[in-house]
């Protein structure tokens, strides 16, 4: 199960994810991502404080968005990484690709600076 809440904060779209982001639920998020790109929303924050589990398909969905917004001079930032997803990010060294923030506000504010 994946719940997500989408919020527009100025130029930044915030996805707060809850539950599992895996092979079963990633397609739903991918649909949202397509809509985002179609609307040229290229600054994205993932708030992962409620994410319990992520697998490689889940990482793939986030990485895919990351690659695509970067070609449009946008970026993806991660807020409130914890638990199993934090372990996966560490194992995959994804902290070298994504800026990671302790709060959602800090991640959103980073786009302004």
């Amino acid at each position: 199960m994946l719940d997500y809440e989408k919020k527009e904060r100025g130029d930044v779209t915030v996805f707060a994810l809850k539950g599992n982001l895996d092979a079963l639920t990633a397609p739903a998020l991918k649909k949202e991502i397509e809509a985002l790109l179609a609307a040229r929303r290229i600054n994205v924050v993932f708030d992962l404080s409620g994410l319990e589990l992520i697998d490689s398909s889940g990482v793939g969905a986030i990485v895919s968005l990351f690659k695509r917004v970067r070609t449009l001079q946008g970026d993806v930032k991660i807020a409130r990484l914890q638990g199993q997803p934090a372990e996966i990010f560490k194992l995959l060294r994804l902290d070298r690709a994504f800026e990671i923030f302790d709060t959602q506000d800090a991640a959103v504010a980073r786009f302004g600076s």
Partner: protein, 554 residues
């Protein structure tokens, strides 16, 4: 895609339509229609176009078919291809509740009806419904079934002039015309159903008999409505498993072309049509699933064809490998590459995702890494080059964790670089200890084109063993959903047998007993390379690995 070909999203059954006639795409936030070099052209608001941005309520004409483009406010929204916003003021004459099967209503009525005439009428109606049902229930191809349903309706209702069948698509958001039948080719092939009627049919699930003022080209050309009278129409829902899956619609210019018993009969036939349609849909899904399974089998064969068939044969070293695919094809792969100067390249990796896409990605990767490995001695440089190369494959949601190691057996030196993969575990013989080399790891391949990598250099002494594996090993789940884990693995390696071949066998056996009968969702790959210790060989030749299990090795 609009066209005559069956796989077009808007499939138009008209021989004058080209197979791929036109397409509508979202470009810079606008829907744009393009003619794909069709024989008879594409028209928007009666003007021929090659490429044309669409506006709300534009009328698209492709040969005999006309569509109205309605843009919905949501940016990702689909296009609605059926005009439901009729301007006519329909007069609903009769409705029949389609929620209860008409056969059931008849049987109930039988107990109260006594007039032989009524009974005969009912019997004939049941006979018709039965005849249609037996004629269409065996048609499993939807494209064949839908026109056949309309053919039967034309036979049963000889005064009907046009028949349409529309299916509910996109989780109830869209009603799409799928089949049209006309008695007279001059009759319009487009349809506008007033909202009030659609509401009755879709929400209330009533079959509706109605009269509607004419609303077509002839009317617009200034002739009086009275010349053509009114349009009589019948519309009934197709209900399958409690859901409205579509709508059948019949109309006629004849005055009082349809009656209440006609409407009841249509409701009954629609019930049978819905069952046939449901069966055809199930059949289609089954076929789709079979194709998917075939794809997965093919992907598995592609993947296995890349796994090395032989282990390297190096004096003084023992290699072993074990690959266990999960129930579906996964993304693990490994390779041994013979490099100049007697060096051996060892590759282990995991492609995210499954299926053909991942397998083909892997194919490309195994080829590229061989190329870069031969050209470049430094593993970090090999990974950097490989990372830049996979960026061009263009599969955005695929990334790869990969560890690449080069063994120089003459110098007993190892150079290794890691792209987000599980760390190598090195078991030292003297003193006996374990090293988990996870300091040097970089980003997985395919995330960031400019990622860079580091090379870790170390030397081996006799008795040392290097263990490489994929996450499937540490994430192997027991029946009580407990992961095997890094700690358990370390313990098994530490306490296990000392010769390289036996270590691997020991690990695999321990993981297997942890897993027991629990289903596994990820591939597991373990590679082991050991610098043979002559002392061990002398004391126990039976310790030598007689078994080098490897599914990839033949």
């Amino acid at each position: 895609m609009l066209g005559r070909a069956l796989d077009c999203q808007v499939h138009i059954r008209d021989l004058t339509v080209s197979r791929r006639h036109a397409r509508i795409t979202l470009q810079d936030g606008r829907f744009v229609i393009e003619d794909l070099g069709s024989g008879n052209g594409t028209f928007v608001n009666d003007k021929a176009i090659t490429r044309h941005p669409l506006s709300h309520l534009d009328v698209i004409k492709v040969c005999s078919a006309r569509f109205q483009f309605e843009e919905v406010a949501r940016p990702s929204a689909s296009i609605t291809m059926v005009g439901v916003a009729g301007t006519g003021k329909p007069e609903i004459v009769k409705t029949v509740d389609a929620n209860r099967p008409i056969l059931q209503q008849d049987t109930d009525a039988l107990t109260s009806v006594t007039s032989p005439k009524e009974l005969l009428k009912m019997a004939s109606r049941l006979k018709t419904i039965y005849a249609v049902s037996s004629a269409i229930s065996s048609i499993l191809d939807i494209d064949e079934l839908l026109p056949e349903i309309l053919n039967h309706l034309f036979e049963i209702f000889p005064r009907s002039q046009r028949a349409f069948l529309m299916l509910v698509e996109d989780e109830g958001k869209k009603l799409t015309p799928k089949a049209v039948k006309r008695r007279n080719a001059k009759d319009a092939a487009e349809l506008t159903v007033p909202r009030t009627i659609l509401h009755q049919v879709l929400s209330e699930r009533h079959a509706v008999l109605s009269h509607d003022a004419m609303e077509d080209q002839r009317f617009k050309q200034g002739r009086s409505v009275a010349n053509f009278g009114v349009r009589a129409m019948m519309c009934a829902p197709l209900i399958w498993r409690g859901e409205v899956v579509g709508v059948v619609y019949l109309d006629s210019l004849g005055i009082a072309a349809f009656s209440q018993p006609d409407l009841e009969l249509l409701t009954g036939v629609a019930g049978q049509a819905a069952v046939a349609l449901g069966n055809a849909k199930l059949h289609e899904e089954l076929l789709k699933r079979q194709r998917l399974e075939q794809d997965l089998h093919l992907a598995e064969r592609i993947q296995q064809s890349f796994l090395p068939r032989r282990l390297p044969d190096v004096v003084g070293y023992t290699f072993s490998a074990r690959y266990d695919p999960a129930f579906e094809v996964g993304g693990d792969f490994y390779d041994f590459i013979q490099l100049p100067g007697g060096r051996i390249g060892v590759v282990i990796g995991d492609v995210s995702g499954k299926g053909i896409g991942a397998a083909l990605y892997m194919a490309r990767l195994t080829r590229d890494i061989r190329f870069f490995a031969l050209a470049e001695p430094d593993p970090a440089q090999v990974l950097a080059a490989l990372n830049r190369a996979v960026g061009d494959i263009g599969q955005d949601d695929i990334f790869v964790t990969l560890l690449y190691l080069v063994l120089d057996p003459a110098q007993h030196k190892v150079a290794m670089a890691n792209a987000g993969h599980m760390p190598a575990v090195i078991r030292r013989a003297h003193p006996s200890e374990l090293h988990v080399r996870d300091e040097i790891s970089g980003l997985p391949l395919g995330v960031l084109p400019e990622a860079d990598y580091q090379t870790d250099n170390f030397e081996l002494v006799p008795g040392d063993t290097v263990l490489l594996f994929t996450d499937g090993l540490v994430e192997a789940m027991s029946p009580s959903r407990e992961m095997f884990g890094m700690e358990r693995l370390s313990e098994v390696v530490r306490s296990g047998p000392t010769s390289a071949g036996s270590v691997l066998e020991h690990i695999v056996r321990t993981v297997q007993s942890h897993v027991a009968e629990a289903p596994q969702f990820d591939d597991t790959t373990v590679l082991c390379l050991g610098y043979d210790d002559p002392a061990v060989e002398k004391t126990g030749p039976q310790e030598q690995p007689t078994l080098r299990p490897s599914r990839g090795r033949r």
